[in-house]
């Protein structure tokens, strides 16, 4: 596997309209953040 060809480090976001399109495309499922909350309370 070639990291340079597989990971798309330069791609797509060229304009403010692109950013708006990304942030306005809302998710339609509710992810479970409880495991991360649990981790957060385990360290000071």
């Amino acid at each position: 596997m070639s990291a340079s060809s597989e990971v798309h480090v330069n791609s797509g976001v060229c304009t403010a309209e692109d950013v708006s399109a990304i942030i306005n495309n809302k998710i339609t499922e509710k992810p479970d953040w409880e495991p991360l909350y649990q981790y957060a309370v385990e360290f000071d």
Binding site: H8, S11, T15, D18, I22, I27, E29, W33, L36
Partner: protein, 191 residues
Amino acid sequence: MIPGQDLLPPEVQDDLAVLFCDAVSCIAEENGLPDEVVDVSSNELALALSEARKDLVIMLTRRVALTSKSGGPEKFNGLSIGKLAGILVFRLSRYRIVHVNTSAIKPTNARALKLSSKIQELAALRFASETILKVRPLVWHPELLYVLSRRHINQEMLGVTFDVIATYCPNLTTTSPLDKPPFDKFYKRAS
């Protein structure tokens, strides 16, 4: 592509501010923190987003210049969503944006007290995962939370990390599919 193009004009910064505040509210609600103990500084939030805008202008200018040396600016294909998320998460976790009045939390509520000290970093990660990357929380989130809140990382390394995550982690479902135009140019999966 114009070098120095503004990816975060004021109206986009306003939208991002609302979405970040939504993430803070969701985390507070899901962890039993009453609204009255959580305060978001609109001034600090605006400063963070303004600085993120400058980071993006600089990154864009630098990358267009680099691409110009190897084929012309027209070869530049835009920044990745990982870089966008990296810059935003860095700035949203560094300014004094979220304040929790822990004196209003019962000393016996250890969960709320401990979570309060990382709520801003939690919100930045949740905001980036849901709003930009569209990835579900996975095993990499705890490590990033720790590094972000207690160790050191900069916007560029966060960007590289998010690039890998965006390429390999399963996506959340969205109103418009990520594998169809115009979103397929931002969300490219590993082949």
